[in-house]
């Protein structure tokens, strides 16, 4: 159990800069997720922490001390790989035992035949066997100890890989997309199990994934990476509701955020698709902006003070409890925007026939996020002013 600091780390493969100045502080016992599209450098961060790849510059501190000069095994971190990386010709028991065997037996005692001459070898191995069995029981794989990895299902291999990581009580767990080789149902199950494991062990978890759902559901904090940099670090809520960059807004959330082109008007309000959003942002008149609207900021029901957009229904996705409507705006881009609504609201509207022809969609401008041409979030003017304007425009 330990905290981790990554201090201005860079890494280049050939001419390809993979990590450009990455800094990150992880608290002791935290579950932190690095999320991003493939190739953003998130796995490289893990490898640098583990010591499998040396960084070009910057340094790594575990528990406050620099580990830059330490070999992977001396860093006392455990890693779970996407492919599980089990030793193919060893049994499950041997796979889990290996980290302890390597730790507790001296090099000479590990030799194939000579090692048996050592008097303490038997004692050490008996201790290892006991701990392996305890870990296997925790993970409910104690029935499988005699099998080889090839005889296991994906979920079972995953557990063996976890067992191999847990058995030596590392300071930190590094997980590189551990669930992405599992089928969808098992993934949901293992998600809950990993969260539970984290709670029980109380260790620091650094978890890498390209799946934003995993990032949102499991983490204390999430760092979103793109092109070798951390774009935003925050709680899942921060990233969802308060993205500081258009890339964050787009990556987090399913279905994705609606992005509409807009323009700043004279008063600092934003015109988008023929309506004026009652917001005031700190930007010059005429600036082109991108307006991010989560599917739940759009509504079929009229609300006081919410501007309304004219749209036509494109298609419907009914998930049971909630419904996603794809709508083509009358004045706007040709690709549909997505509206999320409760089933009752959808049924009511359909019953009234208000989904035929032109639909009036109301928009909660307070929850809109506005970005400049480079994708950076534009701050709003102080809240009081916006509220005043909002109440004025409502009348």
């Amino acid at each position: 159990m330990a905290s981790l600091s990554i201090d201005r780390v860079t890494k280049t493969f050939g001419h390809q800069a993979v990590l450009k100045d990455v800094s990150l502080d992880v608290r002791d016992g935290e579950f932190l997720t690095l999320v991003g599209a493939s190739g953003c450098g998130k796995s490289t961060v893990l490898r640098v922490i583990a010591g499998l790849e040396p960084q070009d510059s910057g340094s790594i501190l575990i528990g406050g001390g620099s580990v830059d000069h330490l070999r992977p095994k001396q860093r006392n971190v455990a890693m779970v790989f996407q492919s599980y990386a089990l030793y193919p010709h060893m049994t499950v028991a041997d796979n889990i035992a290996m980290p302890l065997v390597m730790q507790r037996l001296r090099l000479a005692e590990r030799l194939p035949l000579l090692g048996r001459l050592s008097p303490r070898r038997g004692r050490v191995m008996a201790g290892v066997r006991g701990e392996v069995e305890a870990v296997a029981r925790q993970l409910q794989i104690d029935q499988l100890l005699a099998r080889k990895p090839a005889q296991l299902s994906g979920g079972q291999r995953q557990r063996v890989a976890l067992g191999r990581a847990m058995v030596r009580h590392p300071q930190m767990f590094l997980m590189d997309e551990p669930l992405s080789n599992l089928d969808a149902k098992l993934r949901v199950h293992m998600r809950a199990e990993l969260t539970e494991l984290h709670r029980r062990l109380g260790s620091t978890f650094i978890y890498v994934t390209h799946d934003q759902v995993e990032a949102m559901t499991m983490s204390d904090r999430v760092a979103l990476m793109d092109e070798g940099r951390i774009v935003q670090l925050g709680t899942p809520n921060d990233l969802y509701h308060d993205p500081l960059d258009l890339r964050v807004a787009r990556f987090i959330g399913s279905p994705g955020v609606n992005v509409l082109p807009g323009r700043v008007s004279a008063s600092g309000a934003v015109e988008v698709s023929g309506v004026t959003l009652p917001v005031e942002i700190e930007a010059e008149e005429g600036t082109s902006v991108a307006v991010g609207l989560r599917p739940e900021t759009l509504s079929l029901d009229a609300h006081a003070g919410h501007p309304r957009l004219a749209a036509r229904l494109h298609s419907v996705e009914n998930l049971g409890a909630e419904v996603f409507l794809r709508l083509i705006l009358e004045a706007g881009p040709s690709e549909p925007v997505i509206l999320r609504t409760a089933l009752e609201s959808y049924e009511r509207s359909r019953h009234h026939g208000s989904l035929d022809g032109v639909i009036q969609v109301s928009l909660d401008a307070r929850r809109a996020t506005i970005f400049d041409a480079e994708g950076r979030r534009i701050a709003r003017r102080p809240v009081e002013a916006a509220v005043v304007r909002l109440s004025v425009s409502a009348e």
Binding site: Y87, H89, R164
Partner: protein, 294 residues
């Protein structure tokens, strides 16, 4: 036929238990080619076997009767075994082949692991040298090595028979190709678990490379068991002669016309290889297909 049987409505040929004519012709042609090839490869061995049970006088009779009129095998084989130290030649062959194979593996496996999985500056250069080494024929280096051995007085020893082959660039290349496809993540997991590089090699890479090692062992053992060139260069006495050289010495010593006994000897020294191949056949084929060599 099973593929045809699963078709929704079997045609006339299938119902009669026959192949469709076009497929049958294709299969027949393929088999014809294979049969001709097999005849070319196997006929000399068949002839060797037949000659080894013929009377010496019958070898050169004008008639081309493949089946001998009179079984003379017992005499030929006992003659071959009693008149020449055939078992000693074979013992030499076993010693030399086993030692060569062991040395080749000891040198090639670590080199191949380094070339496949470790990053070091000179790696491209070393690998280029390995590839270059593949192109140098044995005969080119024979004379310098012979002179070197003569210089240190080691001619006509087991050492001389093994030396030039103890380092096989072919083995390095073969194992390097095999190791290259081994998942990096397993090696990284091993490093995190505290394996030394040498332990990664012997505890993880070598067990996974068993098929490739078996395939290479067959290559190595057959070529050195059958090698006549190098033993002829460095060996003069029968004490260190390997089987083919022994056969030559044997032929010179004897009248030179007892072909029945000669072929009996040849059969005896060929048999171990054939038996070994039959035992290792499955592993061998798997090794070849897995490494993508040949």
């Amino acid at each position: 036929m099973s593929a045809l049987a699963t078709r929704p409505s079997p045609g006339l040929f299938a119902r009669l238990g026959l192949m469709r004519p076009d497929l049958a012709i294709r299969a027949a042609l393929a088999h014809l080619v294979l049969i001709v090839g097999a005849l070319f490869v196997l006929l000399p061995f068949v002839w060797m076997l037949l000659t080894s049970i013929r009377k010496p006088e019958a070898v050169f009779t004008a008639g081309f009767n493949p089946i001998p009129d009179e079984f003379h095998g017992v005499e030929n084989y006992s003659h071959a075994l009693s008149q020449s130290p055939l078992l000693q030649f074979m013992g030499n062959g076993v010693i030399v082949c086993a030692a060569i194979l062991a040395l080749q593996l000891i040198f090639a496996l670590p080199a191949a692991y380094a070339l496949a999985k470790l990053n070091f500056r000179a790696r491209p250069l070393v690998f280029a040298l390995v590839l270059l080494g593949l192109t140098v024929p044995q005969q080119v280096t024979a004379l310098p090595i012979y002179m070197g051995l003569a210089g240190i007085g080691m001619l006509d020893t087991y050492f001389a028979l093994m030396l030039p082959f103890s380092l096989s660039v072919f083995a390095i290349f073969l194992f390097r190709q095999f190791f290259k496809s081994f998942p990096d993540e397993i090696i990284q997991a091993a490093r995190l678990d505290g394996f030394t590089e040498f332990e990664i090699l012997i505890r993880i890479m070598v067990p996974s490379a068993r098929p490739a090692i078996a395939a290479f062992a067959v290559f190595s053992i057959t070529s050195h068991w059958n090698d006549l060139y190098w033993p002829l260069v460095v060996t003069t006495s029968p004490e260190h002669a390997t089987p083919p050289l022994g056969m030559m010495i044997f032929r010179d010593q004897e009248t030179g016309s007892n072909y029945g006994a000669l072929m009996a000897g040849a059969t005896i020294i060929t048999a171990p290889l054939v038996i070994a191949f039959l035992i290792a056949q499955r592993q061998f084929v798997r090794g070849i297909t897995m490494t993508g060599v040949k």
